[in-house]
């Protein structure tokens, strides 16, 4: 593990950056356009039943965006990052499945995604979030339409890491809080239009409280998401930060993103000196 694995792109093999960049932009545009269309054209009267056009648009647009992002980003990542993605997915699923079945209005299903985003950057974080939802959907298909929201959280965590937020632990929960606000706003139309509500009993109780006050379904679920998601992501970011800090420095500094943007405080370990923090 001490010697870095070959992470530089090959000089001999041709790249196709333009096509990848195009797919990335197309994926992001698909997610943004879907969200705008859903909010602008949300069914005003849901008494006749859950709107099926909105459900089709939410399912198709967000999923297409997530798949395009994965196809664009995955081939560009160094091998050390690609092998980290399955680990992040396993952590997401193992921890998320545990919390999802309890009566807590949190999900904690993005710890692995944030971990990868901190170590390998926004693109890797976004790919991990989307892929994690796709693989998890093999066991629980209801998480599939939320792939775009998961990708957004990974991307935002990577941006926060690049900006140096993870150098000071007290800033981390705030970054998580902000990411949770955006993630919650993007995920709410899926819960509202595709599933007609949230799947957890605790989150359902919060939605019911807002509905009792006369809110529309989208407004109630967005407000519920704005209560649950920021707190959830603040915890997730903090846990992921603690896990990254607990890694030996040679393990965390093997990632080019960590070295290049000085993601973590302290100096890069030199040569074969023992790990500073184990």
């Amino acid at each position: 593990m001490a010697s870095p694995s070959p992470q530089q792109p090959s000089l001999l093999l041709p790249e196709a950056p333009k096509r990848r960049r195009f797919l990335e932009i197309l994926g992001a545009a698909s997610i943004i356009v879907t969200y705008v269309v859903l909010v602008l054209t949300q069914p005003a009267d849901i008494a006749a039943g859950p709107g099926s056009l909105a459900a089709l648009a939410a399912m198709g647009g967000f999923l297409l965006g997530a798949v395009l992002l994965v196809v664009a980003v995955l081939p560009t990542l160094p091998t050390s990052t690609v092998v980290l993605i399955p680990i992040a997915m396993v952590l997401n699923i193992v921890l998320g499945q545990f919390v999802g079945s309890t009566l807590v209005p949190f999900y904690l299903d993005a710890i692995g995604t944030v971990l990868v985003a901190v170590l390998a950057g926004p693109a890797a974080g976004a790919a991990t979030g989307a892929l994690s939802s796709i693989v998890w959907s093999l066991f629980n298909p209801t998480v599939l339409p939320f792939a775009a929201g998961a990708a957004l959280i990974g991307w935002l965590a990577g941006l926060a890491a690049r900006a140096g937020v993870f150098r000071r632990f007290y800033l981390v929960p705030f970054a998580g809080f902000l990411a949770g606000v955006l993630g919650g706003v993007v995920s709410a139309p899926i819960a509202a239009f595709v599933f007609g509500g949230t799947s957890g009993l605790a989150t359902g109780a919060i939605v019911s409280a807002f509905r009792a006050m006369g809110d529309s379904l989208l407004a109630a679920i967005t407000k519920q998401a704005l209560i649950s998601d920021p707190a959830d992501k603040a915890i997730v970011f903090a846990v992921a930060a603690l896990l990254v800090y607990a890694l030996p420095r040679r393990a965390s500094f093997q990632f080019p993103f960590v070295r290049r943007y000085r993601v973590l405080a302290g100096r890069e370990p030199q040569g074969r000196e023992p790990a500073a923090r184990a």
Binding site: M1, S3, S5, P6, S10, L13, P14, E15, T41, P43, I46, A47, A48, G49, P50, S52, L53, A54, L56, M59, V70, V71, L74, P75, L77, T79, S80, V82, V83, L84, I85, I87, M89, V90, L91, V94, L131, V135, S137, L138, N140, P141, T142, V194, G196, G197, S199, G200, L201, T203, G204, V207, S208, R211, A212, L243, A246, L247, A251, Q254
Partner: protein
């Protein structure tokens, strides 16, 4: 593994994937609880013919029962858009529209969940990835998905062993939150450490075997396909597009979204 003449395991993975997606799209486009109920009945009958029927039903029940309960609670008691009040319970009101909404959304999600679980419990993942790679998806996707699926049971087993080791070193998980948090830290940190350490070794091994090469990969696996399956996929695709087109036309000219 396969049983009966309707075993989905024998089909090409693309056929079952197209089938699951088409069922979800058509049911959503139809947007009527009676249609969803009929499709759900059909899917359950198909599930009963599969070798892993019990596993599919268990997984579906674990997802759908809490979801249906939450929907019933949410829309059955609080539905401000409801006009026909069936019962008043203080601030809550049971309305006909709310119950119908819960029924509609619940059955639609039921179809979505059972269709995709039927796909994922009958598909052979390596075959699916071979087929998808041949159609232009990055080969790395295959590695990531298969690696995650293999790591899942291994990680669960490792957590068990880490916990046993920590307990042998004197870890006692008490009822207090602090004790639980400490226990979680003592188990999570070694797990993440060992997984990240292994991933570093795996990266070197993979790079030594040309993992980063961008030239087309040759697959040793051939996935059987047939003309009827090819035709069935096309038909399902056309039916899905037609269902969406009808729904869009109805929304534009008939006012039903």
């Amino acid at each position: 593994m396969s049983r009966g003449t309707l075993s989905l395991e024998r089909l090409n993975p693309l056929t079952t994937l197209t089938g699951a997606a088409a069922v979800a799209v058509i049911t959503t486009a139809a947007g009527h609880w009676a249609f969803s109920l009929t499709v759900l009945g059909g899917l359950l009958a198909l599930t009963a013919r599969q070798a892993r029927a019990a596993a599919v039903l268990r997984a579906a029940a674990a997802i759908l029962l809490p979801f249906w309960t939450a929907l019933l609670f949410m829309h059955g008691l609080f539905f401000p858009e409801g006009r026909t009040v069936l019962a008043e319970l203080g601030p809550a009101a049971v309305t006909r529209e709310g119950l119908l909404f819960a029924l509609d959304a619940g059955l639609r999600t039921g179809v979505f969940v059972v269709a995709f679980l039927l796909f994922s419990f009958t598909v052979r993942v390596p075959e699916l990835l071979t087929v998808l790679s041949a159609r232009g998806l990055p080969p790395r996707l295959g590695f990531v998905v298969v690696s995650a699926l293999t790591l899942l049971p291994a990680a669960a087993d490792r957590i068990r062993r880490i916990r046993a080791a920590q307990e042998a070193r004197g870890l006692v998980i008490g009822r207090s939150l602090a004790s639980r948090l400490l226990a979680a830290r003592l188990q999570a940190v070694p797990l993440v450490l060992s997984l990240v350490h292994e991933s570093g070794e795996r990266a070197q091994a993979l790079d030594a075997r040309g993992f980063s090469g961008r030239q087309p990969h040759t697959s040793l696996r051939t996935v059987p396909d047939s003309a009827p399956q090819w035709a069935a996929r096309r038909v399902l695709l056309v039916l899905s597009l037609a269902a969406v087109a009808v729904r869009v036309a109805l929304a534009l000219f008939g006012g039903r979204a």
